[in-house]
């Protein structure tokens, strides 16, 4: 049966009518093959216009519709709805953009009319090849997995749990709270970090929707948005979390001593331990690598001492399989190791600390109980804070870590408070103080005594050496008068304009503001979750501006410093954003509606060359058997919703590419690359585009502009 095409031409008030001779266009369209009716109307997107289209579809039994009006980006949705209302599949529509790309850009009415004719002919020829498309939907898991129980992961987990979502919160360490739990105070409020954090951690521990898996690592992730299968390895704690009350009786008797990684190795812990006072959950853990029971056998000291019989050496590692609909990766960061830059003498000269070590020195649950002390037990008189260690240098990390200026200023505030008589020197090259609080935080320091800001010409030229038990810092200063800083005088000082002086000063203690780097295990995680990393190792967001919390892999979201360096405030925001994304996409009682414009593989044509697999930006194409977990549930036959009638799959199918319609976004990159022509990009098929090309070129318009050459050539 021949298609019955209706062409509707919109006058768009005067917009199209005055630029194009619509009578000619209408007459021309009437002469086109398969066109059974042509109508022009003042404003098709108006209620009257929509009604006109709807009525004519029914009256004329139209099977295809061409609407010559504005850009599809403006009103395609409107007209699709009209088709649906008239009982026609919305994808049987082709919109012709005779306003933005014809009427408004061509002044000569004859030429505009000719172009409009060509465009309408192309649409008429294309629309014949349109196929009705249906948006499939899919049953989904409502539960979510959050990896990393730092402030980012916790924010995401709590937001999800608020909406009664079951959340698996997986944390590789024995405690939750991440890096923030190691700090004494947070900027810019100088609020006590545990006052901020502890109530939140408490909520996590007591929330019935959140299942916390500490000492756990992700081993494998299969599946796709809505239906992930995740294997989690839960390492044995060897202490019963239900009965241990964290009394600490066991640590006292433990004979094995180990450097405490939670205090950055500044002091020691036992093989059975709680990382720091106040750590949550407040339950001991056995470090089996160092525990004498496991290493030499025989030591049962802790088991004998525990008043609650909580110690269980027999506990084994377990592998658990979780089924979740979406995942948030909030796996945090590590800091730059200053040993990589020998000029700082870190690890060789005493009393040179990284900022994370200094956080522990300042912390009341740290190795010194919060007292700033030198190795010899004396308080320092002169402290230097060095900015940009490992940041903003092509040698290590080109990016600015964004938070070092602020935490360095926080240190200055805190040192000044604890040791008001000591002097503090901040060595910086530029200050990064964005946001509504930061400049004030800096300005407050200017009123205090004993704090100087030393602008260094080239931070990479700083050299440390040891001299008489002190740290000698050599540097080139371009110190502008402090009034410039205060009054915000001339900005963007040119180095050459300021005389540089070579100086050297001795200090008792130096704190290096080390860069935030991608977590050491980021690469492993990227491989497991199959998401990309940027050149610096941080996980890449889907879109820098518009989708900063999602990844190109649908259903996997990122939050916090795993995505890039950021402060607590932005980390919490991103954690909540990731959760919000999940809550708005996976809704109880609603199926996941899939993109209708996707690509499909013609099984008879696919040769299994795998070219498409590497090209897909969304990893939607796999070379798997139909039973693989990568294949949508409905294709696996288990659910049998869509292809159940096919019964057994043919042998050939095992060696073919399969496109996962949940992950496919319909870009069509694979279709263009397929050497067998086996991949069809729905709604942008080869056939449709070839028809469009032919339609555009084979009108009278094309013929006249071609002159007589065509005929003879």
């Amino acid at each position: 049966m021949a298609e019955r095409i209706g062409v509707f031409v919109c006058e768009c008030g005067p917009n199209i009518k005055e630029a194009i001779d619509l009578d000619t266009v209408v007459t021309f369209a009437q002469g086109l093959k398969n066109v059974v009716m042509v109508k022009s109307f003042n404003l098709l997107c108006s209620e009257a216009g929509k009604k006109l289209i709807e009525e004519n579809i029914t009256k004329n039994n139209l099977t295809r519709v061409v609407i010559a009006a504005c850009s599809p980006r403006e009103h395609e949705h409107t007209f699709k709805k009209v088709l649906s209302n008239a009982g026609l599949n919305p994808y049987l529509l082709q919109l012709v953009n005779i306003r933005e790309q014809c009427a408004w850009v061509i002044k000569n009415k004859t030429l505009a009319t000719e172009k409009a004719k060509a465009m309408i002919q192309a649409a008429v020829e294309r629309v014949i090849h349109h196929e009705p498309l249906e948006s499939k939907d899919l049953e989904c898991q409502m539960d979510a997995l959050v990896v990393g129980a730092g402030i980012a992961g916790i924010s995401a987990a709590l937001t999800l749990a608020q909406k009664n979502r079951k959340v698996y919160l997986v944390e590789k360490s024995p405690v939750i709270g991440g890096k923030v739990a190691l700090y004494e105070k947070v900027f810019p409020t100088l609020e006590c970090a545990s006052c901020v954090l502890d109530p939140v951690l408490d909520k996590v521990l007591h929330n019935e929707q959140i299942e916390l898996l500490t000492l756990s690592e992700i081993q494998e992730v299969l599946g796709f948005f809505g239906n992930f299968i995740v294997k989690v390895k839960k390492n044995a704690r060897c202490v019963d979390t239900k009965t241990c009350i964290g009394c600490g009786a066991c640590f006292e008797v433990c004979p094995a001593k180990v450097k405490n990684e939670y205090n950055e190795g500044l002091d020691e812990r036992r093989a059975i331990y709680i990382p720091y006072a106040g750590a949550l959950p407040n339950v001991a853990v056995i470090d089996r690598e160092h525990c004498l029971h496991f290493q030499t056998e025989g030591c049962n000291a802790c088991q004998n001492t525990c008043p609650f019989s909580s110690i269980n050496y027999e506990e084994n590692d377990e592998v658990q399989e979780l089924r979740v609909g979406a995942i948030v990766l909030a796996t945090g960061f590590d800091v730059f190791d200053p040993k990589r830059a020998p000029r700082y003498g870190y690890g060789k000269i005493d009393n040179v600390y990284t900022s994370l070590e200094f956080e522990r020195l300042l912390n009341s649950n740290g190795p010194t109980g919060g007292k700033i002390l030198l190795k010899n037990g004396q308080p320092p008189k002169k402290i230097a804070l060095i900015h940009c260690v490992g940041s903003r240098t092509r040698e290590y990390n080109e990016y600015c870590s964004g938070i070092c200026c602020m935490y360095s200023l926080k240190f200055a505030h805190m040192v000044n408070e604890q040791l008001p008589d000591s002097s503090i020197s901040e060595f910086y090259s530029d200050f990064c103080l964005p946001g509504k609080e930061s400049q004030g935080f800096f300005n407050n320091l200017l009123d205090k005594n004993g704090i100087e800001f030393v602008r260094v010409k080239d931070l990479d030229s700083i050299k440390f050496s040891e001299k008489k038990g002190k740290i000698l810092i050599q540097y080139k200063t371009i110190n502008p008068p402090s009034s410039t800083l205060l009054k915000g005088g001339k900005r963007g000082l040119q180095d050459k304009n300021i005389p540089e002086t070579l100086k050297s000063d001795p200090f008792d203690m130096v704190v290096l503001s080390v860069a935030i780097e991608a977590a050491k295990d980021a690469q492993d995680l990227a491989r497991i979750f199959d998401i990309p990393q940027g050149k610096d190792g941080f996980f890449t967001e889907e879109h820098t501006e518009l989708s900063p919390a999602s990844t190109i892999k649908e259903g996997i979201f990122i939050a916090g410093c795993a995505q890039g360096p950021k402060d607590v405030q932005s980390t919490v925001t991103q954690g909540q954003a990731a959760a919000g994304n999940i809550l708005s996409r996976l809704i109880h009682g609603e199926k996941l509606v899939l993109e209708a414009i996707t690509a499909t593989v013609d099984e008879d044509l696919c040769s299994g060359c795998k070219i498409c697999i590497g090209l897909c930006p969304y990893k939607a194409i796999t070379y798997n058997s139909p039973e693989s977990p990568h294949t949508p549930l409905w294709k696996r036959g288990a659910e049998g919703d869509f292809e159940g009638d096919k019964g057994g799959f043919s042998d050939k199918k095992e060696n073919l590419a399969t496109i996962n319609e949940v992950l496919c976004r319909g870009c069509g990159i694979c279709a263009a690359a397929c050497p067998s022509g086996a991949i069809k990009a729905k709604h942008f098929t080869d056939k449709q585009i070839f028809a469009e090309i032919e339609g555009l070129l084979n009108t009278n318009y094309a013929k006249t502009s071609k002159m007589s050459l065509r005929g003879t050539g």
């Binding site: 850009s71 933005e100 850009v105 000569n108 870009c667 263009a672 056939k687 585009i689 065509r710």
Partner: protein, 180 residues
Amino acid sequence: MTKQSHHSEIASPSVRNDKEGCFRKGNKAIMSSFEPKIIGFLCNWCSYEGADSCGRARKEYPSNFVVIRVMCSGRIDPQFILEAFKDGADGVMILGCHPGDCHYKEGNFNALRRYTLLKKMLKQFGIEEDRVKLDWVSASEGDKFVRVVSEMVEKVRVMGPLMLIQKKQLKNHREHRGNL
């Protein structure tokens, strides 16, 4: 280049003479009334929107340029371009998002690679490689859109109509994809 906003202005021989100095030898009679036909494949997210924004700002460009919308420049199969030449186009443009801005992350890089290879192949078909041109136009670059389109139209106009020596060869290219 001065902005050649009006179609007939571009078509006038004097403009072309100023730019190129002379016409191609032997083609003068044909050239003087020759209007090239250019097909542009535009990605939905950046370049198509760029063309739209150009319309919204009422910036003129030659009517010789007609647009086919695709979701991504990475969708553009080189066979579309060959098909366009076969069907009578004198030039083909591929416009996509700027590198790094692709809505689908890296589709425009795929387009770039295919374009580079296609140009080599075109030579073997006897088609001047300058008849196909790839450029990046973002949604906000209405001005750039006008510029690259006008330049292309002008360039192809100077090159003259495409005379396919071995039309049949190209025709074959379509056959095995015909049933898609």
